[in-house]
């Protein structure tokens, strides 16, 4: 996982790149990291371009991140989901919970047009 702050839209956006797998072994790591990232911002984009696999624990962790973001008047958007990962979001109905974008740029842009904060 890598994290940086993007201010190109005039807002402070946290861009996190999820890499490899998110499963029962490392999903708690994402939740812990997210709590730290929240000290800097409440608007997030998860770049999933390099996310190869996600299971129900990983999905639970991402949903937990979304819930935390919303509780702090923020938002979490997903970008670059591979078809395989997207299929997991689809069958679990998690797709309905998230705003999804084909690339990170359009996800960042969306905060500018209708963003929170």
């Amino acid at each position: 996982m890598t994290f940086h702050i993007d201010t190109s839209t005039g807002k402070k956006l946290g861009i996190a790149a999820l890499i490899g797998r998110i499963d029962s072994k490392n999903s708690s790591e994402l939740i812990t990291s997210f709590a730290l990232w929240q000290q800097q911002t409440s608007l997030f984009v998860f770049d999933c371009a390099r996310l190869d696999f996600i299971d129900s624990s990983g999905l639970g962790a991402i949903v937990s991140c979304l819930r935390n973001a919303i509780e702090h008047n923020g938002d979490l958007k997903l970008a670059n989901l591979s078809p395989k990962v997207s299929m997991v979001f689809e069958i679990t109905k998690a797709k309905k919970l998230f705003s999804m974008f084909p690339d990170t740029g359009s996800a960042i842009q969306s905060f500018e047009t209708n963003g929170t904060e």
């Binding site: 696999f53 299971d55 129900s56 078809p83 395989k84 299929m87 069958i91 109905k93």
Partner: protein, 466 residues
């Protein structure tokens, strides 16, 4: 006429990526193995014998189709090299092909036919040569015709090259959507667009929307939605509040709670999007998993639980056994027979002495009700040769090897049969369904409850161990 079916590995190797471990000819199309469609068509075309020729492995399909008795047509098998052309294949099968008119189905193709149509007369009158062809194979006749020539006209017959997962998916959906059902499909159907197999448990709050085909031993749990357009294979569990719409769930698959499977194919732990051909393998008990046979840890726990249950039963039965057995032996109502039985391990046998009690008179009725005829078998559970509950031990004879080979994936010789927990089984087929169901869905604690149920059922039972 005879039918020669020639299938080459290069034509079906794409299937292995999606359905690993399933022989291409046994891939189910609307819950019916592909091979059965070819056999049905060969019979409709007037064939009196079928030979299946492949350059890949044949053993699985041979085990399934055997000698063709089930369809009333002899089926034989032959291997070829992947370099053999059609003429070489015919030459190699000269004895099969000689004298007779031969229908040659070549390639990995699905023949779209209509079960109502009489193909026999047409095929007997058509000249030598190709009848139909597609990108993946052809249908041709060889040998002189036996009837005067007819025109092919508009007979309902076409070939579909079976070359992608999308073709497979669309074919299943097309069959499902056809009200007149041109093929014989498995399952019970008393209304259009709905075929349901045996031992299907559908929760009251589940919703079934036609068209659907549901296989055997299926559990559809509360608030699930099945269909429209759903094919559910055998031995499948659809967990609570999940929906399967426009999708195919192949056998031995578990669909977890609250899932929405739409326009997908699920096979074990593999989820496939047919249109794009993208597949994802997941082994997540909350999402999608294959239903496997018991693992070693579970087997060990099961074995311990079974042994403890056997000790308890021996303790309870010991005094009645010591008191009643001598009386029954003196009365000639305690009859023993010794046979060799199959064990769960392939090609291993077990010598067992089984007892039958003639149920006439108060002592024998009491002994039967207490299941004393099984008392000596309980010691076999202690040494791990038998399970406390499972399958009836199958007597090892040359003729029962076939029966055993069909059941050996779930067979577990036991003192009590799962079938004894139910009152409805009347024939070996029913018994096999129950045994298979509990073998797939059981667990050690459930086994104890089922053993108690079997013991209680035996109080009223009139017949004894088959």
């Amino acid at each position: 006429m005879k039918t020669l079916i020639i299938i080459r590995e290069q034509d079906y190797e794409w299937l292995d990526h999606f359905f690993p471990g399933i022989h291409p000819l046994l891939v189910p199309i609307c819950n019916k193995p592909f091979a059965e469609f070819l056999i049905d068509f060969s019979i409709l075309a007037g064939s009196e014998a079928i030979r299946l020729v492949m350059d890949g492995p044949l053993s699985d399909v041979e085990r399934y189709c055997e000698n063709g008795n089930r369809w009333g047509i002899p089926i034989s098998y032959a291997s070829i090299k992947n370099t053999d052309d059609l003429q070489t294949v015919i030459d190699k099968n000269q004895r099969f092909c000689s004298e007779d008119r031969i229908l040659i189905i070549s390639g990995f193709v699905f023949i779209q036919y209509d079960k109502q149509y009489n193909y026999k007369t047409i095929f007997a009158s058509l000249p030598d040569g190709e009848i139909l062809s597609s990108n993946r194979g052809s249908l041709r006749l060889r040998g002189s015709r036996t009837e005067t020539q007819h025109d092919m006209g508009n007979i309902p017959l076409s070939l579909l090259g079976f070359d992608s997962i999308d073709v497979y998916y669309r074919l299943c959906m097309e069959i499902l959507n056809d009200i007149s059902s041109p093929y014989v499909l498995p399952g019970y159907s008393n209304e259009a667009y709905c075929h349901i197999g045996r031992n299907v448990v559908i929760s009251k709050s589940a919703e079934i929307r036609k068209p659907v085909i549901i296989g055997n031993n299926v559990q559809i749990l509360a608030d699930s939605i099945i269909g429209p357009k759903a094919v559910i294979g055998s031995n499948v569990i659809i967990d609570r509040e999940s929906s399967v719409i426009g999708s195919i769930v192949l056998e031995n698959t578990y669909i977890g709670e609250h899932l929405e499977v739409q326009n997908k194919i699920a096979s074990g732990n593999i989820l496939i999007e047919p249109e794009s051909g993208i597949s994802i393998a997941m082994d997540d008990p909350h999402l999608l998993t294959g239903i496997h046979q018991s693992g070693s840890a579970k087997s060990l726990f099961q074995s311990i639980v079974h042994r403890l249950a056997a000790i308890l039963l021996i303790t309870l039965q010991l005094i009645p056994f010591l008191l009643l057995t001598p009386i029954l032996i003196l009365q000639g109502k305690w009859k023993k027979s010794t046979n060799s039985y199959f064990t769960a391990v392939s090609e291993k046998y077990l010598i067992l002495t089984t007892t039958t009690i003639e149920r006439t008179g108060p002592f024998s009725t009491l002994a039967s009700a207490l299941s004393l005829d099984r008392f000596t078998l309980l010691f076999r559970v202690l040494i791990g040769q038998l399970a406390i509950i499972g399958s009836w031990p199958v007597v090892a004879t040359p003729s029962s090897i076939t029966e055993y080979s069909k059941t050996k994936s779930w067979y577990r010789a036991a003192v009590f049969s799962y079938a004894e927990t139910e009152e409805w089984p009347v024939n070996p087929g029913d018994t096999a369904i129950i045994e298979r169901y509990y073998a797939a869905h059981g667990n050690p604690m459930k086994d104890i409850a089922l053993t108690i149920k079997a013991l209680l059922n035996r109080i009223h039972e009139t017949n004894t161990h088959p």
